[in-house]
């Protein structure tokens, strides 16, 4: 019986060990759940877009609702210029959402509770947004670091502060998702342990907490995927429509 609440985050190898040079690229349980969530997304959206009937069935309705949800989110936050990046933000949102939601099923592994996974996603977004900004505006993109109407004496300090706040984006993006998922799952495990240790007499209170926490965690799983996607839109908006 795994009493340690952190054992649920352990990554272990499934199948043979594969090594390229010094890098261990064996197939782990984390990779398994990434594959599962990607396959689930592919299957659901392929089924949903296969028959374009006027009266949609449930799967088609699901696909259409998520399409309009993400497309509205992009047009609200980043404007019409961000339309070409729809497919990227849509797949990002769906991947994070499905990874979070698969983690809610008992005995599964939550991929997004590992900082390296979320940090790679965030670093990719950060580099992509910076490259897009330089392509669209050239060196004028550096104006992002120089707010208008600042006295010349304060300018070097402000530029340093702006650069730090720009560099902090991928960290805040990745830490937020990782910390929320890890804290939530640890808390659920701890309360589950209380149910066992307090037994039939006192176990009902932590059990009711556990039920409430499960509901909260499902909300957090959706909300964190949403925040991840909407912040990508906001960063994209900064890169596309430079206003300073």
């Amino acid at each position: 019986m795994a009493a340690n609440p952190m054992t649920q985050f352990e990554v272990y190898r499934i199948g043979p060990e594969i090594k390229i040079g010094a890098f261990d690229i064996s197939f782990t349980n984390a990779s398994l759940f990434m594959v599962i969530s990607s396959l689930a997304i592919l299957v659901i959206f392929n089924l949903g877009s296969k028959k374009n009937s006027l009266l949609p069935n449930k799967i088609q309705l699901l696909a259409e609702i998520s399409y309009t949800f993400v497309s509205k989110m992009i047009s609200d936050t980043a404007g019409s210029k961000a339309k070409p990046y729809f497919s990227f933000i849509f797949s990002l949102f769906m991947f994070v959402l499905f990874c979070n939601m698969f983690g809610m099923i008992p005995y599964t592994f939550t991929v997004t509770s590992h900082i390296i996974v979320t940090f790679v996603l965030a670093a990719f977004i950060f580099i992509a947004v910076t490259v897009i900004g330089f392509i669209k505006h050239g060196f004028g993109y550096l104006k992002l670091f120089v707010p208008s109407g600042v006295p010349i004496v304060l300018l070097p300090l402000i530029v340093i502060i702006e650069i730090i706040s720009y560099l902090s984006r991928p960290i805040s993006l990745s830490v937020r998702l990782f910390a929320n998922m890890m804290a939530g799952h640890t808390m659920m495990k701890v309360f589950g342990g209380f149910v066992i240790s307090l037994g039939v007499v006192g176990g009902w209170l932590p059990l009711s907490f556990s039920v409430a926490l499960t509901g909260l965690e499902i909300l957090v799983a959706f909300l964190q995927a949403y925040v991840f996607a909407i912040l990508t839109c906001i960063y994209l908006n900064d890169a596309l429509n430079l206003h300073h």
């Binding site: 300090l157 502060i161 730090i164 902090s168 805040s172």
Partner: protein
């Protein structure tokens, strides 16, 4: 006393607008932006400290740059929070 039909219609329309405004306060995106604030502050401090640490190592000025950049990071974090709070009010 018969009420003016236009006035009742106006009242109904006003009520509808108010209802919509109240609904906007409760939508999920505002909860989402509230989640943002806490990490925004911490991450800027972390980045500032890391930059200070790296610069200290390269210029060999051991405690000074990390101290300065820690406080610059704090300022950047507070500015981040103010910026996103302003965005939330829009």
């Amino acid at each position: 006393m018969p009420k003016d039909p236009f006035k009742t219609r106006l009242e109904i329309a006003k009520k509808k607008v108010l209802d919509k405004k109240n609904q906007r306060k409760l939508n999920p995106s505002s909860i989402g932006t509230a989640f943002k604030l806490s990490t925004e502050l911490v991450s800027a401090v972390a980045v500032g400290t890391i930059i200070g640490f790296i610069l200290d190592k390269t210029f060999d000025t051991k405690p000074w740059l990390i101290l300065i950049f820690f406080f610059v990071g704090v300022v950047a974090g507070i500015m981040n929070v103010i910026k996103s709070a302003k965005n939330m009010q829009k």
